[in-house]
């Protein structure tokens, strides 16, 4: 093939710190300069007919830049004209030669950034067919989730056609210039449906034992391999389905599928865990980083081809050690590079403090499942890479900017404005940076990772020359004294008590005081507010052995949490025996409890010795004083409308690029 990807990393600090990440590796006949791979990630950025868009090209270019010579994989393409393989509205297609020019644009931008271009073939099987009436599968087994289409059993003719479509699509990808082709066989997509004893009930040669169930995979690999030539072929394969509750494959059966894939001719295997239908969490923040590395190690014991893996490997130390120990060959990433496309580049350059950390919230997934374009909770530019209006540009007029509040909204705004050339001063009445994230990150189940955003902000602000005035509360007098050109109010919300007069009692305390340990809390606690602050403090207290009840006025629990993460909190509330009453108000607080009223007027008592208030309202203080001075005013984050960390960061960024 003759393609060469020459990179010399030896002079970079990241090479010395994480040497195993920046060593070359051989995939088939292709030498990859390092051990870094941006994994295939749907982004819903392409058009409804599967043609590649400018937005997707710009999105991929950034990730290609980020892998510094490693592998950059574009999203999986669907391969059938009937679109039964299509699982996402903005998924790229490769079922006709008319798609080659668009695919070529992606391969070209990856090459322009010096990276290795990889494309994935993805028939979404029982979670596909979003534009058609029925999806395809080996057998008619209903899905656990309502959002999917009814399954139609594939005939042998359908299977032959599917294999042919994989081959045809591969030819197009290679013509478009991709250096690696990868088959997707994970999380509930078609090939995984055939592999699994859960979804494959066939009695013909494509069913039965694991070798029969793997027949379609083996046939596809062999046929695709014929057209690949020297282009390496990989496969993403599930090492543990986590479907024991529905009699899915055993880990031993999964390892047999690995061995069969290797025998059939793949040049590497990407290790994954779990299905979309698994009832166990896999990649959310509550799963400790590195938890799944044992699967890569197990895979290495069963196959000789290189093994790659993503799945909660956010810190470079983990894959560097695993590669050094011989448990892994390639470090893959999806979400860390959604949050920061240049993450590995920054690691190489010794700028880890500049990495915007993924908080494993799964908002990106929640968006895709709801037919919305990719968004990142923490990266405001994600999916807007193509749009000049979203980028940080030098300010036309330098301003003196006062930011009130050193939480995530204020800090995001501060460093962006400072990078644009403004003189930025951040004030906070607290002595430390972080705002409410200081307290929020004390909640259990991985919420400590939220504070990483503040560490990122601190580094960016310091580099951009932001001046901090901690322990200084912004007042009307201070504003009059300083007379800045612009004031950004990022003061956070007002934490409010309920309307009942008895909220003034001594046993009513604030969520912030509870989380920072200054409030006295009894053994039976009632949390007022059923959004994230209420859930977080509820779990925090339940972990201390307290009996917790949550009462909130929202119709549903955790409306401010994205649905792809909310189910985790629901599970932990059950596990910690926390009772939740939604759509209720508190009518009265007494020494031993509260009287609660449902939205339609039914009253009932709840025993509690302490009431924790977590409800918030917008903070309108100082606004009149600022307007009276004729000073430009912006309000961001919870001070504007109490929401969540994501809204704070996005608000801060959008105002930062506007000032």
């Amino acid at each position: 093939m003759g393609k060469e990807f020459n990179w010399d990393y030896t002079s970079y600090p990241g090479y010395k710190k994480h040497p195993h990440l920046f060593k070359p590796i051989q995939l088939g006949k292709l030498t990859i300069p390092n051990r870094i791979k941006y994994a295939a990630t749907e982004d819903n950025l392409n058009d409804k007919d599967g043609f590649v868009t400018d937005a997707d090209v710009a999105y991929i270019r950034q990730r290609a830049k980020g892998v510094v010579g490693g592998i950059c994989t574009m999203q999986g393409v669907y391969m059938d004209e009937k679109r039964q393989g299509q699982g996402y509205v903005g998924q790229a297609a490769a079922w006709d030669d008319k798609y080659i020019p668009g695919l070529k644009r992606l391969a070209d931008v990856i090459h322009e950034e010096g990276a290795v271009a990889c494309c994935q073939l993805m028939h979404c099987g029982r979670v596909g067919a979003i534009e058609t009436e029925y999806c395809q599968g080996p057998s008619v087994v209903p899905q656990r989730l309502r959002i999917f289409r009814p399954v139609q059993e594939m005939s042998k003719e359908d299977i032959k056609q599917c294999t042919k479509e994989h081959v045809e699509a591969t030819r197009r990808l290679i013509e478009a210039g991709f250096d690696i082709v990868e088959i997707s066989a994970i999380v509930g997509y078609l090939i995984s449906n055939f592999l699994s004893s859960y979804t494959n009930r066939r009695t013909d040669e494509y069913g039965g034992d694991v070798r029969g169930r793997a027949r379609i995979m083996v046939e596809i690999i062999k046929e695709v391999k014929k057209v690949c030539g020297d282009v390496p072929l990989g496969i993403r394969l599930c090492a543990e389905e986590l479907l024991d509750d529905v009699r899915g494959n055993t880990p031993e059966e999964s390892m047999i599928t690995y061995e069969l894939a290797e025998e059939a001719g793949v040049d590497y295997i990407s290790v994954t865990a779990g299905w979309q239908e698994s009832i166990l969490p896999v990649i959310s923040r509550d799963i400790p980083q590195g938890s799944w590395l044992y699967l890569a190690k197990r895979a290495k014991e069963h196959v000789r081809v290189p093994v790659s893996m993503a799945y909660r490997l956010f810190k470079p130390e983990l894959p560097n050690k695993a590669i050094g120990d011989g448990d892994l060959d390639i470090w893959e990433m999806c979400r860390p590079m959604i949050a920061d496309p240049l993450m590995p580049k920054k690691v190489l350059e010794g700028r880890e403090e500049d990495v915007r950390p993924c908080v494993a919230c799964n908002l990106c997934l929640a968006r895709l499942f709801r037919d919305a374009p990719m968004t990142c909770y923490i990266n405001p530019v994600c999916a807007h890479e193509w749009d000049p209006k979203y980028q940080i540009q030098p300010a036309e007029m330098k301003k003196n900017v006062m930011i009130a509040g050193a939480g995530p909204a204020g800090l995001e705004c501060a460093y962006v404005a400072a990078q644009r050339g403004h003189e930025v001063h951040v004030y906070d009445k607290k002595e430390e940076l972080g705002g409410a994230i200081i307290e929020a990150s004390r909640a259990p189940y991985g919420d400590d990772e939220l504070y990483g955003v503040i560490e990122f902000h601190k580094a960016q602000c310091e580099k951009a020359g932001v001046k901090f005035h901690l322990g200084t509360e912004v007042t009307a007098d201070l504003i009059e004294e300083e007379m800045p050109d612009t004031v950004v109010l990022a003061t956070g919300p007002n934490y409010i008590k309920g309307e009942a007069p008895s909220f003034d009692r001594a046993n009513v305390v604030s969520v912030l005081d509870v989380l920072d340990g200054t409030a006295e809390v009894g053994d039976k606690v009632l949390i007022w507010g059923n959004r994230k602050p209420g859930i977080g403090v509820g779990l925090f207290l339940a972990k201390q052995g307290k009996k917790v009840t949550i009462v909130g006025s929202e119709r549903g629990l955790g409306k401010d949490i994205n649905p792809s993460f909310r189910w985790r909190y629901s599970a932990y509330l059950r596990e910690n025996k926390i009772t939740v009453y939604n759509d209720c108000e508190i009518e009265e607080i007494t020494d031993d409890g509260v009287t609660t009223v449902t939205y339609d007027g039914f009253r009932f008592p709840i025993k509690a010795d302490t009431v924790v208030c977590t409800e918030r309202r917008a903070n309108e203080s100082l606004q009149d004083a600022i307007r009276e001075e004729g000073i430009e005013l912006f309000v961001v984050g919870d001070a504007l409308v109490p929401r969540n960390l994501s809204s704070a960061v996005h608000d801060g960024y959008r105002i930062g690029i506007r000032i």
């Binding site: 209903p142 024991d244 009287t595």
Partner: protein, 177 residues
């Protein structure tokens, strides 16, 4: 103002019974609507069975996340029996479970059920009422069997619409028959 428990429970109870009644009257009003639109040659039983098939499939979807095999087959069968009983209890029936001779054999007994009363009120036959209920439960079971790759059976041994005083259904694994 202290909570008057008796008053609150009375109000809640009234609202619950009202809602349970509305479900049944609405069902029979829709039945009448479907029959009038379908024309005189339509067999009411066909419409009723189709309705309960659709309802069964939909209810089964809510069963799937709640059931799992990790706790063992016996617990699985018991949890399924509880869920099936729950569909009656939600409608105002009194339903009890009794274990059979083997761990995966459960008897589900409807000691009281409001549906036959409503069938009479709206002029539907007892046969239609019974077959509709059977179709609903069987459809749920079929979907559960399909999803979990199980082979559970449900047989109706007694039925209030037949004048047996109770509805008694046996949930079991075929090989234990």
């Amino acid at each position: 103002m202290p909570v008057d428990a008796e008053r609150e429970i009375t109000r809640l109870h009234g609202a619950l019974r009202g809602a349970q009644g509305v479900i049944k009257t609405t069902f029979y009003e829709w039945r009448q609507t479907a029959l009038e639109l379908a024309g005189p040659n339509t067999e009411p039983l066909d419409i009723i069975l189709k309705f309960w098939e659709i309802a069964g499939k939909d209810v089964a979807k809510s069963f799937l996340p709640a059931l799992n095999m990790l706790k063992g087959e016996d617990a699985f069968v018991m949890n399924l029996a509880r869920a099936l009983a729950g569909t009656g209890i939600a409608n105002g029936a009194v339903v009890k479970l009794e274990k059979g001779e083997s761990p995966d054999e459960i008897f589900i007994k409807w000691e009281r059920c409001p549906w036959p009363t409503f069938a009479k009120r709206y002029g539907a036959s007892m046969q239609e009422d019974l077959l509709g209920c059977d179709k609903f439960l069987q459809t749920i079971l079929d979907e559960v069997n399909l999803f979990f790759n199980t082979d559970l059976k449900l047989e109706t041994q007694k039925a209030i619409p037949r004048g047996n005083g109770v509805c008694l259904r046996r949930l079991y694994k075929e090989d234990k028959k």
